[in-house]
Symmetry: D2
Subunit: 345 residues, 4 copies
């Protein structure tokens, strides 16, 4: 009887914990079941082009604490490539790969769902989104790390807020979901937290800024990069150009700092953490979660339970249908946002 | 109508996040409901002696990121003190305190449960145990911080394990429950993890040590302080004395290092993290959890839902009966421990 | 005989280590010599207005690891205030303060130099500049902390540089001196380092970016906020407006990212660390340096050696004339910058 | 004309920054001068056995932030091996290696000094000792990292010292020199600092402990592992056995905690950081220093200036004769230790 050979790939943006999943998958598969593994390079692209990486135990040694992914990643959608599915099937056949473990976000897992349902390719998904916006799982790995990094930055800004009289604006990740802003803002003791789900009123922000100054110190404003002002205010976004072709570079953080200065008369400064939030070593929580996701993904393969994604529910790892897992975005609901309101101003 | 005045106390051992709870309780209570707060010093002792701390918004400013507790703590059990309940009632009456919010572990909450049930004192509990061994909640704050600190230490030891040929033993907290050892061992990539729940076989440990050397590098052994050898081995514990009155200072970490050296011939060294794990600034996760516990404890008071403890279930804060919450210890079950076994050796 | 009472003040921008100096000054003065201390609030402003803070041993307890300054700070120059010197003398007389210990940068110490030389007020200076640009001392405290924070950010960005194909630009502090950029760029393994002392050629930067992509991964570009392009390129600076009155917010980091994208076709992203670099707990090195500066400043007072600034030379603390200390800016010389060139591209 | 091929080796114990030196040596040598490099495995042992590692630019990519050494290390002294010098010469000839760059401490550099002086092998030394006890250089890399790690541990212990009434003893590295204890004790705000250079009086330690309790909180005692009590007190050292063959495991930290408990009646707890201090990623300072040492070692080779060691003096890298560099141990002198005394008790 031939050995089972499993394909592994990572898709989408960077996220601390990807390597921890890969390592756990390989350790568990090889040691418990004698499986073999083939890594595909750069997400789905590697399944189209047949570019592979050998994945055995020496290959995954030492990668647990390392950010990024040893397999590389891409945003390639094979279903939009000519002959995509046929090329994937040929690649799998050529490398004698049976099931696939796909580690990625909405897009990557959406492809896995369709490959399984429509084309009969046995897939197991592992959820990955730094934004924590997948509704089928309590948490995704990478999120805790991003929140911790943002919180440490906010901690350092408190010093300046206390010693000087400057409003400090911190722009954190989150285009569509404000989880990083909400969690790091709460953990860091921010005085205003802005999320994409709740368009903000600049005058209200300025009122909080002013009341904070009256009560004690300078305020810290944490804003998700995707937060938007209410009522027709326009935030100039990345690299737009004005009618003279001049570059206007700015995100909501810079825009807010400017508006606060203009409206309240208080000096304001911006910190834009950017990719710092999604690189580097994962937190202990994310390593633990990523490792358990990897172990349980192999269990799913072992049991032939395809078309599923592993997910965290409480402290248990469960399985949910891939199709369902990627159906809706988990956004910050108004009740959870309101909970934080007691700390504003 | 008179204002509601709520008593707050923290009991038991140090745990990062206590101040975050106190801050959230006061912010929510004052700003949303106009409550007043009285802090009792040093846990239940303050309710016996009437030693109090004023808790208003300025008093809780800036304490979110600080370890320890501004209220102090103790292990005093007022039910074992002469006239304890009467003295508590007098103190509460004197300070015009109605409900109590008690933040603590098994012992502190056990007292709260009995004060509520048997003596009619309205209590709400907030769970606190660095060991994460309360069965009614997915997590307690402080645990994530301890795991992160232990994981960072293990990360640093890997360097030495790779460059030199020394077995490295790390003793982490956990007298009765091995959660810190399990999580930090998994997150740190330990080659052996020992927990109190599963008496260990020293020969098995040595076999893992030896196989690890053969496979690659020197091994890292993570042991809970409460781990014990199987089959009559005796670990010399803190400050015991031999028959000459000589001091023999050592915990299981030192003992293991010695046994591994003796049995395998490989040099071994020990790191004992000790109180480093329970002091200092809480992780972002712990601040978030502690803050939400504090907010929801005030909700419970508001609703008159006494005799309850706030608890984390998934991403929700729920309430459970105090009596039930402290009934059983949440230990590492064999299945969860077995999950980690694939990384041993 | 009356006791010696010494005034202490901190001036200029935030800098980790200020509190460590204050603590050391007070501990040494009180315990070794029985001195008393009066803190003046908000730099020289406090000496004008007579706003003071009691500085005894309880007042400095626990401040060693804390960023900022318990005395507050300002950029007030009393020599430019009406009647400034007379008001200072009145304040000192009123509070029975003899010598002054002034902790600050070029401006603060320049005032101290003139107060001592021209007006006979006995002053001892402690140098403080996060930019490390004082020529009389090997290092100033705060600098090591800033470099460490920037280096940790760069570390995290390497992950993304490896996994994705994006140029990552990091803007660090340094308007006139590039020490933070040079040290963090070297320590973080940056592929391009830009400093204010050496106007850069954007085409050369793009050539390095391109060659780095060819050799291995995406490049990391570290730029001091004060770095400027050669040959008439114009960088849009903070909050400028175009002819329609639209805000154009951007520093050199954003500008560079845009130019690199435009000229090389590679995507680029920017991280602006901002005040994160100057807040929060000081590194061990900075605490050690600040503490020793404080101890030696008291020695200078003890010996009546006024008009001097304490300075680090090798591992020794020495004294240099205040006037000389603030005379020239210590910038990155071409030889030191050239040393780093081997890592570019 | 043939290319210059340079040998590189790392000897002695682990030390963060070794890889940073190797990388800088290779980058500079290859890019500026077209040199080739051969790494010898496991210190001098590799020069005896001819075990080598290819050192080109891809080989050193990404190693800057990594602890340990990609070359491995050992304590082998080739001058004590039969035919050692002849075997080294044969190995060098076989691999066509001319000059050697030896990175190590007293022992490794002592060998380099003799190989150069007595046997005409051209050597350049790079100093490495985590204990900072080489007299010819202001600092050695690795030291700053160790001090930072110890300081962060002490920071966390302050919380417990404040909340509970326990003496906390921290044992840090330093068998013969107390620099790590002195710097981390000062930076961490320890209440007692013990170094090997000054035998301590246990009663004096207990007096400081007691006075600290009276003044404020519980004390933190930092002790170098090599600190010894005065007047015939005996500290039980690693793995000694009593007359029954029972193991008595303990260092000075455990011993002190026990004595303090016994003599003052205050509970005491010990943290033994162990190898955590010498593993893991180097601090920014250490990376900067190690990188500059590497660059300047290549300069020395280029100039044919053999028999020298690179050293830090102020902010300059200088060269000193190898023989002189290893002649004396740089210990904590009484004046520097006395400076810290103002913080004791």
């Amino acid at each position: 009887m031939s050995v089972t050979r499993i394909g592994v790939l990572t898709g989408g943006g960077d996220c601390p914990g990807l390597n921890a999943v890969i390592r756990a998958v390989v350790r568990k598969g090889v040691q418990s079941h004698g499986y073999e593994f083939t890594g595909f390079r750069d997400g789905w692209r590697g399944t189209l082009d047949g570019r592979t990486v050998k994945l055995d135990i020496p290959a995954v040694r030492g990668i647990l604490p390392r950010g990024g992914t040893i397999l590389g990643s891409s945003r390639t959608n094979p279903l939009k490539e000519p002959d995509g599915v046929r090329r994937i099937k040929e690649t799998l056949a050529e490398h004698e790969v049976g099931p696939l473990i796909a580690i990625g976000g909405e897009d990557t897992l959406g492809v896995a769902a369709r490959l399984h349902e429509e084309y009969g390719i046995p897939c197991v998904g592992v959820p990955k989104t730094i934004d924590n916006d997948l509704s089928a799982t309590d948490y995704t790995f990478g999120f805790d790390t991003a929140v911790q990094i943002a919180t440490e930055a906010i901690d350092r800004l408190h010093t300046t807020a206390e010693s000087h009289m400057r409003v400090l604006v911190v722009e954190v990740m989150g285009r569509h979901a404000g989880w990083i802003a909400l969690h790091s803002g709460l953990a860091g003791g921010a005085n205003v937290i802005l999320v994409p789900e709740q368009p903000f009123d600049v005058d209200q922000v300025c009122a909080w800024v002013t009341s904070r100054f009256e009560a004690s110190y300078a305020p810290i404003v944490v804003t998700a990069e995707g937060a938007v002002p209410r009522d027709g205010e326009v935030v100039l976004k990345d690299s737009s150009r004005d009618s003279f072709g001049h570059v206007r570079l700015s995100g909501v953080g810079d825009w807010l700092a400017h508006e606060i200065e203009r409206r309240t008369g208080h000096e304001a400064r911006t910190t834009v953490l950017g990719h710092v939030q999604r690189g580097g070593t994962p937190s202990a929580f994310d390593r633990w979660l990523a490792t358990r996701f990897g172990l349980h993904a192999v269990d799913a393969v072992r049991e032939g339970d395809f078309g599923k994604m592993v997910a965290l529910r409480g402290t248990d790892i469960v399985r949910v249908p891939l199709a369902e897992a990627v159906a809706t975005l988990k956004t910050v609901d108004p009740a959870r946002y309101a909970e934080a309101g007691v700390f504003f101003g």
